[in-house]
Amino acid sequence: MRHYRVGLAIVAALVLIALTAPLLTALEGQDATGFHPELVNSALGGLPNGALGGISADHWLGVEPGTGRDIFARIVYGAQVSLGVAIGATVVQVLIGTTVGLAAGMGGRLADGLLTRGIDLMMALPELIFAIALLVIVPAGFPRPLLLAGVIGVFGWGGTARLVRAQTLSLRTRDYVAAARLAGAGRVRVARREILPGVVAPVLTYAALLLPGNIVSEAGLSFLGIGVRPPTPSWGQMLSNASVWFRSDPMYVIIPAAAIFLAVLAFTLLGDGVRKAANPRTTGAAS
């Protein structure tokens, strides 16, 4: 239970940081996209002046090599993208997964068979490759974070659907469901009024565990250069730019890596806590 509180505290802090990014950068007196050529050494390939990647009273986490952009500002704005995309993707996964899972569980033998094969197919798809293909063909004008959330969500709902279907199959044989049906309730009504409340708890638990995975997916796609577009910062994109600098400016790598690590760790702890709270007697069954 202790871990879960730590997770919650960090998640709350990260969400707060993301929401107050403009305020925080104003407090620091910097912005996320302004170039500062005077803070880097052009003759050394754009290495930031000063120790630890140019950390100073004006630039709390130093500056980016080459551009001299403020890393603190980019990290807090990056939190908006990373958390926003991860949460958005999780919502998409839960919505599609629950709908398909419910339909499969409640449908007849044919519908169930078709939908289950559909779920299998979805889970068998090499998610990353399809996501890359999709991200490349969508026109540049489309809002990037929305697209990322959609793409990660659309390719990642298979697990939720399976969970919901299994839960539905077990719930539909319960007496209270049978009673509702005898009372003349239609399938849709039964699904909505009797089954859905019963799957909410496991789905929420599962969603909490999906979130850290989605943070990593966003970071991965941005790392590959197909995530959010510059100059919008994201943690994955920062890590990608930083990867060649690991020797000469280690702080530039450590900072976005630490941000991703912290977010994933916090959401995992929180998800674990939710799972235990929802189902105190079992360990490890919900997912």
Partner: protein, 568 residues
Amino acid sequence: MRTSHKVLTALVPLAALLAACGHNTQDAQGAKNSTAAFDPATCQGGTLRVLNQGDLTHYDPARLYTSGGGKIPTLLFRTLTTRNRVPGPDSTKVVPDLATDVGTPSDDAKTWTYHLKDGLKFEDGTPITSADIKYGIERSFAPELPGGAPYLRDWLKDAQNYGGPYKDGELSSIETPDDKTIIFKLRKPEGEFPYLATATQFAPVPKAKDTGVDYEKHPISSGPYKVESFDQSKHLVLVRNDNWSRQIDDQRLACPDRIEVTAGLDPAVVNQRLATGAGDDANAATTDVNLGPAELARLGSDPQLAAHVAHTHFGDTTYLAFNPKVKPFDDIKVREAISYAVNRQTVINAVGGSQLADPATTFLPDQAVFGYQPYDHFPAGPTGDPAKAKELLAQAGYPNGLTITLTHSTAQSGHGPGVATAIQDALKQAGITVNLEPLDPDSFDAKVNTPATEPGLSIDGWGADWPSGNPFLAPIFDGRQIIKSGGNFNLAQYDNPEVNDEIDAINKLTDPAAAAKRWGALDEKIGKEALTVPLYHSKDLLLFGKNVKNAWVSDWNGLYDLSVMSVK
């Protein structure tokens, strides 16, 4: 040639299409370091390893797009002329290779005559004749063997619709009156024909050994090495050609007994291996991996490593290209405002800082051989002049600024997102809001190089096929080179009869020095129209292994030369 193009990977590092300018002092030092213990008489032996990033594509002389005969191709294919293999500014000169001189022009530089040296042989011992050279050129017209430079089709008489020897027989504009003589008939004066004759299309191909598209599996060598094995896109192993000797070739030293090329490596891996120099890597070099900004930071603190770096030039310019057919860029005041607003310092930092690029205010690279004539029509200083830009915008009718779109390639090259965001930031100071339109490299080329779809503003680069003003200015500013169907590089879609006439007049000159002067003046004149905003001329730094000697850099292609390097 367009520097973001993949053809260039055969010539210079792609990430590294950063070259230029007068760094002769650095070169002299580089040459001293690497030639200290070098003696051509005793340099022979050992295995030179080449670690490259770009794939080994087609080793067919018809399909290679090279400058001055290429880096690796020149080890296999001798051509009528070649680049001069000496350090320093003289390396931009053309010298005879298979021919006895660089060519005799007649008929106003519309006819060029060459005579072959004595004793020339293929790797199988058969003598090389003028008919073999004619056949090699004819093959390059075959649609099955695409990839070479476009000049031959444009320049040679009756070649515009010629389909190669397999389909259309012989090409009448190349004559071979005897085994030693070859005469080229051009449809217009071309004083720079000797430069073109350095291309691998001018390498001899024995008709009896031609296997069409399979010829690249074992091309017949006329140079110091022959192919032992070729595993496409991975490995190429070259061994000595016993029918070649220094008596019949005064350009190549051919020191190593064996040259092994490994391709498709990660650039960071190549640099790490060359820097560490463990085992065989001490005998290694690269022809296409530039030092990146992150590695530059290491050089400052490691003088031993710095001794194994070649400082190179390759004449190229990265620039903002306007399409004046698109509003608001039809207004010269808007174009001038953007010229004043750019911050070259942040652009240069975005591509690796002052060691990898110099600010550019001229379209021609800052090397004398191109005809470089300094000018700065819209002096923005190193960091831009937003006040002046705002003033011009107000005059143009945009007192409250304006919003424009900048199209750029997503490739992590010298014209990628880094430069685009630097421009975006600089223009913001002048009240210009820049929306970025990133396109993957293929879509970028397709869109930007087709006049009908060309965006108003894009980031482009241009490098020279040979060190002269013609291949730099003509494709960009000659109105007759606007290609409606795609593959257009005249991005301003500029068609000025005066400029066209001047290009024709300079092409008649056969004295490179006289031509260079006129190219420089022409560049200065066109620059006043603000059709481009030159951003930077790039420079390359290349590592080589610690046992490698004689690794001086040629000003022709901005690289050290495998044919004169030694590992002994």
